[in-house]
Symmetry: C2
Subunit: 180 residues, 2 copies
């Protein structure tokens, strides 16, 4: 198969949170295509586990105009490793420190128009402290929810939990950590 | 809790495939926030099942610069119901018609900056015909892959399958359809 070849790559839009890059390219057939690529920071997802329970968070989400129960998650900031971000986000969003972190893998978070990656960590041996939410999380009334794993499964089935991050991470969790 | 209030909503960028809307809003605390909301069409995911097998597709993805094995998926076009899109995409991408479609639920596909939804269907009682790929799918050398469900689980575990759609849909599938 002949290679793909990018012939144009220009920033079409840029703000603090994301970038749209307009790319023209040839496919192997020689046909020309155009994509608008979304560029956002990679992020981490953390599943904090204690026995048969996981710690999720509940907060109001402006984008979906609703309260959502979901995994701890946050962007990898410049200079951070994914593990360091996992530790920071777990402390900030849930007030939890963990002695043990296990990398469960990563996935493409929005592959249709982005190569953004989400790294999934399991956190164990937990210690509990105070949350350090940012301004939008404070306004979203962020709360920690300790939920039985079997309960989370029910909540996914009956759509009480319905976001891509929790669902994707839960696939990895069920296949790698959970045989119940 | 006081309500959230949008005070500005302006298109910051628009192209054929997506729109970025700049929104300023007050949270319940009275504090002002800003979001850049990504606006894209809702879409469907189809899991075509035959006994212990699912039909996935393999194609080169320009966004991730790699071949990916993943679920059949595609945008809901204007005037279409999600079910109609499911039937169309299954036929176009996999060359499959199905007599039975079951709605397994929906999820927010990119809730961090979008309210885009993905509807998940299980397709059964399959008939096989010819694919009708579009230009970019032809260039991506789209192929149908008949895979044992146990094999797909292995592929998720060892990162041969690593996209948000297949992982999210597989959570729903494992919880609702599969007890092996």
């Amino acid at each position: 198969m002949k290679a793909w070849k990018t012939i144009k790559s220009e920033i079409a839009f840029k703000c603090k949170y994301l970038k749209i890059v307009e790319e023209d390219f040839f496919g192997p057939s020689g046909k020309k295509h155009k994509y608008f690529i979304l560029n956002r920071k990679d992020y981490v997802i953390v599943l904090a586990k204690e026995g048969d329970y996981l710690y999720l968070i509940e907060q109001y989400r402006y984008t979906t105009q609703s309260k959502m129960i979901q995994v701890v998650a946050g962007a990898i900031e410049k200079g951070e490793t994914s593990l360091r971000t996992a530790k920071r986000e777990l402390r900030e969003e849930a007030g939890i420190k963990a002695k043990k972190f296990t990398n469960l893998g990563w996935f493409y978070a929005y592959y249709g128009c982005s190569n953004q990656k989400a790294y999934v960590y399991l956190a164990e041996d937990l210690e509990f402290g105070k949350q350090e939410p940012d301004e939008i999380e404070k306004d979203g009334d962020i709360k920690v929810r300790k939920l039985k794993i079997s309960k989370i499964k029910e909540m996914i089935k009956n759509r009480k939990i319905k976001d891509c991050d929790t669902l994707s991470a839960f696939s990895l969790f069920m296949l790698k950590c959970d045989n119940k």
